[in-house]
């Protein structure tokens, strides 16, 4: 039996991706986003509200990083989603994380985040439904500790967390339970 819930932005899982930019004074800003992600082999799309400090920074610097946070930074990363740099200008410093400048783009790389995409702003679009930022990936940075013996990122080792928009929860990632483009291969032969 299915129930009607009306018009709601309900899908799961949603990610907790972290957008890193520089403020005008060179200090670091990080915000958490859940709406958007990869949109092509070398592109990301971020759906944001126009009044975020991040958006002003993206316009000014034309670059950002997009990172996957580990569970060990859940408190700081959630705080980056609560606090606006418009009101708490020292938010990054307050959270106790550390950043260095990307070697490729004009944006900060947070040392504690295990996976980071270095991106340049390709286009900022004012959509009828909100603002969309298209970014081009110029490099991916991964901590050695999250790589497997073949040098590939082991998703489980990222130890990240999922966002539940329906009840505002964070969930852990469970065990690997199958292989993509493989779990259903038996049905091809049927």
């Amino acid at each position: 039996m299915k129930k009607d819930l009306g018009v709601k932005p309900y899908l799961f899982p949603m990610p907790t991706y972290m957008i890193g930019t520089y403020n005008e004074d060179g200090s670091v800003d990080e915000m958490m986003m859940a709406w958007g992600g990869i949109c092509a082999e070398d592109m990301v799309a971020l759906n944001l509200e126009a009044d975020h400090k991040t958006v002003a920074n993206l316009r000014a610097r034309g670059a950002f990083t997009l990172a996957v946070p580990g569970r060990d930074t859940m408190e700081a990363s959630d705080f980056f989603g609560i606090a606006s740099a418009n009101k708490v200008p020292d938010k990054f410093e307050r959270a106790g994380l550390h950043a260095v400048k990307s070697e490729r783009v004009d944006a900060p790389v947070v040392e504690e985040y295990p996976l980071t995409l270095e991106c340049v702003v390709e286009r900022i679009e004012d959509e009828p439904y909100g603002l969309r930022v298209l970014g081009r990936i110029v490099n991916v940075l991964a901590d050695e500790r999250v790589l497997d013996e073949k040098g590939r990122v082991d998703a489980g080792k990222l130890d990240t967390f999922l966002f539940d928009q329906m009840r505002n929860g964070y969930y852990a990632v469970g065990e690997q339970i199958g292989k993509a483009w493989n779990a259903g291969a038996g049905l091809m032969k049927k």
Copy 2:
């Protein structure tokens, strides 16, 4: 120590959302997607390759469903990602799932999927990087078995699975480990 991995579409988690459409003969097509999702309170964005049967169906019918699959349908759902309806026209039937027509849009609702967004096509855009479908959510359908005592969707009860694009894996969802806009609230007072 961070390693450069080059230009890769690497983020995690990615979802396994299922797009449901009708073929021209009224049979059901389902495909799995990972690039896209919610882009506004009442909108979804799907980043797809233009040659999918789904895209032809979206153009012809102007409607689709977007569902979250449970782990109990991982085999069928993965198969929907492997098999193209251009080559395996009876793919939905072959997988053994069941669908009824949505009461609101011209698209199928898969009975086995616990959470389904009923959507109309708002716009189809040919972007330089690929095709983007913008859909407007007209209703959300949820199985009663995934609702909590207050009638809200319990993300854990969806028992869905995550897509890992880096090593082509599926992961289970773990336990709830925090509350969003709350886990970092202590830092606001600091």
